[in-house]
Amino acid sequence: MPTPFRDALNSGKFMITAEIGPPKGVNLDEMTNNIDLLKDKVDALNVTDNQSSAMRYPSLGGCLLIKERGGEAVLQMTCRDRNRLALQSDLLFAYSRGIKNVLCLTGDSITVGDHKQAKGVFDLDSVQLLKTIRTLQSGKDLGGNDLNGAPEFCAGAVITPEAHPIEPQLHKFKKKVDAGAEFFQTQAVYDINNLKNFMKYARQFKVKIMAGMVLLTGAKMAQYMNANVPGIFVPQPLIDELAGAEKGKALQKGIEIAGRAIKTLKDENICDGVHIMAIGREKLVVDILAAAGL
Amino acid sequence: MVDVFEPKVVAFCCHYCAYSAADLAGSMRLEYAPNVRVVKLMCTGRVDIIHLLKAFEDGADAVYVAGCEEGACHFLEGNLRAKQKVAIAKRLLKEMGLEPERLEMFHISASNAPLFAKAANEMTERARKLGPNPLKREIVKAT
C-alpha cells in the first residue's frame, strides 16, 4: 500500500521530516500556520502525542488537520495514555481517515509531565505496538478476533544512537525491526562519529533511518540537555562554538550548526535523512533547511 | 508555700566512657547539678526507644544518653545506634506533645570529666527552663 511518505522512503531520496506540537487547548491557529509553513518543505510532518506527558490537543487531530491542509502526516502514538483496546480503535480510525504513517513510542513517564497523579497506562510497549499494527494488518486484533476490514500502515519507531550503555539499545533496535518497524527517527544526535558507528550496525537491516536534530539555542541549552536529557551528548566543541557566538547571535549559531550537520549527513550519505525537532519554534525549521542548502 | 521546681533528670551512661567520665568528675571534685540520676549500661546501644519514652511517662523532666565518642565505641557501633534512636525518639516526643529538647544524645570520652559535668548542667537547665514534665501536672491535677 503506497503512501506518499512510504514512496519517498523507498525512492532513496534524502528524507526530511519535522514535528508539529499541538496546542494545549482548542485554538488551532498557530498549529495551522505552522503546518502551512512547513507542509511543502518536508516529506512528512509528525504530530506529537501529549509530548513530555503534558496534556495537549491529540496527535490524531493534528494529523487530520495536516491532511486537510494538503500535507503528509506521521501519527505519533505513545503507550502511556491508552490501553490496547483504545490504541487499536485509534489505529482503525486513523486508517479510515487516510492517516497511514505511524511512529510507535513507549512514551515519557507521567512524573515528567503536568498531571503528576495520573495513571501511566503502558498496557503495551513500543515493540508490542509495532506487533499490534502488523497483527491488525493481517486481519486480526490482539484478542485473536477477525476484523471486518483490515488497515495497513507504514510503521516506524525511535532509537537513541548515543545511549549509554549502547548494547541494550542495539538489541532493542533489532527487536523493533523484527516487530515490523520500517523506518526510524532517532533521538537527537550531535556527534557525527557516534552516529556513523551506530549506522555501521544499523545498515545490516533493511530500514530507513532519519537522524534526529534538536535546534540548540545556546550553550546553556546544550549543557542543560547534556545533564538532563537521556541519550543526548552535545560535544564540547559545539558548546564552545555556541558560547563563542556574538551576543544575541547564539540562536543564529544554533541554526548554522544544525544546517551544517544536515548538509554533512546528506553529502556523506551517512543515513537516510533527517528529522528536525523544533517544538515551539516551528518557523525556524525553514531557516535550518536554508542553512543546510535544502 | 511554694515548692521550687527541682528537675528530675535521667542519664543513660555507658560503662566504658560516660560512666568513667562521671567517676573522674567525682575524683576531680567537679561540681555539677545533683539532679541527675545515672542509669549505667555496658553500652548505650542497649538503650531502646521505649526506655526513653517510659522515662518521660514515669515523670522525668529531662533524659539524656551519654555514650562514647563516635568511632570509639567499645562495642563498635552501639553509640551510633543510640544516636539514631535518640533522633527518632525526639520526633516521637514532638508527635505526642512533649518538647523534644527534653531529650539529648552526648558523646563523652572517658577522660572528659568536664564534658560530663557540662552535659549534666545543660540538661538540668533545659528542664528548669521548660518547666516540669507536663504529664506531672496532670498527675498533680488528678490528686
Binding site: 513517564s109 501511566g120 508490542q128 537513541t160 541494550p168 539499545q169 527487536k175 541519550g231 | 508527635e95 505526642m96
Partner: protein, 216 residues
C-alpha cells in the same frame, strides 16, 4: 515480605478519638521485620497514645497484645475473648491482617495503624524495597531474576525505553533502569537470547480482583 509504614500519629489519634478502651494489636511476622507493627512498635505506640491522651486530659485505657500473625485465624482465636472487651482494636498488621481480625472479632471496630505499601525485601538495615507486584504471571525466568513489572517505572516487557540514562531511570537518577540490569544479568549468564526474545503484552487479568487461590 509485606512492607508497610505506621500512619502519622495525628491520624491514628484522630481515628481512635471516640473510643474509651482501645487494644493495640501487633503482628509478629512481616510488619515486625520492617519495624512497622511488631511488639516493639506496639509498645511505642501505646506509650505515645498514653502520653498524648494524658496531656489532652482524656481518660483512655490502652491495652497491648502481639500475636504471631493476623492473617491466620488460628492466631487470632486465642485473643478474641480479650479483644471483645475493648471498644476498638487498633491493628498494626498489614491490610490483610486488619481485615481478617475485623471478620473474626466482629462487631468490634478495627482501626488500621499502618499503611501497607508493597511486597518487598530488606535491601539494607532499615531500608525495604518493592520487588513483587503479585501479578500472577511471574516472568523472572525470562529476565534474569530482575522483575520489570516492579522495577521498571513503566512496567515494560521489552525495554529499555528511550529514557534510560547511564543505567538509571528517567524518573529518578537514584532509580536503576531495570532493563539495563536485566541486560547485564543475562549477559553475565550468557543468555542474551532471552533479551532478544519478544515478550507479548501482559495478561492483566491473570489475577481477577479480588484474587482467590485454592489448593486442590
Amino acid at each position: 515480605m509485606i512492607v508497610g509504614e505506621r500512619k502519622p500519629f495525628d491520624e491514628i489519634k484522630d481515628k481512635i478519638g471516640q473510643f474509651k478502651k482501645v487494644l493495640i494489636l501487633g503482628c509478629g511476622t512481616c510488619v515486625s521485620v520492617c519495624m512497622a507493627g511488631g511488639e516493639k512498635e506496639v509498645e511505642i505506640l501505646a506509650s505515645e497514645l498514653r502520653v498524648a491522651n494524658k496531656l489532652a486530659g482524656k481518660d483512655v485505657e490502652i491495652g497491648q497484645a502481639t500475636i504471631k500473625r493476623q492473617c491466620d485465624r488460628e492466631f487470632i482465636e486465642p485473643v478474641v475473648e480479650n479483644a471483645r472487651e475493648y471498644d476498638a482494636i487498633l491493628s498494626m498488621a498489614c491490610g490483610a491482617g486488619v481485615q481478617l481480625v475485623s471478620d473474626v472479632v466482629a462487631p468490634v471496630p478495627i482501626i488500621p495503624a499502618l499503611n501497607t505499601d508493597f511486597i518487598g525485601i530488606t535491601e539494607s538495615e532499615g531500608v525495604w524495597v518493592e520487588r513483587c507486584r503479585a501479578c500472577g504471571n511471574c516472568l523472572l525466568a525470562e529476565t534474569g531474576g530482575v522483575c520489570p513489572v516492579t522495577r521498571c517505572a513503566k512496567g515494560l516487557l521489552n525495554g529499555p525505553c528511550g529514557g534510560t540514562n547511564n543505567g538509571k531511570c528517567e524518573v529518578s537518577p537514584e532509580k536503576d533502569c531495570a532493563w539495563t540490569l536485566i541486560y547485564q544479568r543475562l549477559d553475565k549468564q550468557g543468555r542474551l537470547d532471552l533479551f532478544d526474545k519478544y515478550n507479548p503484552p501482559r495478561n492483566h487479568q491473570a489475577v481477577v480482583t479480588p484474587g482467590r487461590v485454592t489448593k486442590s
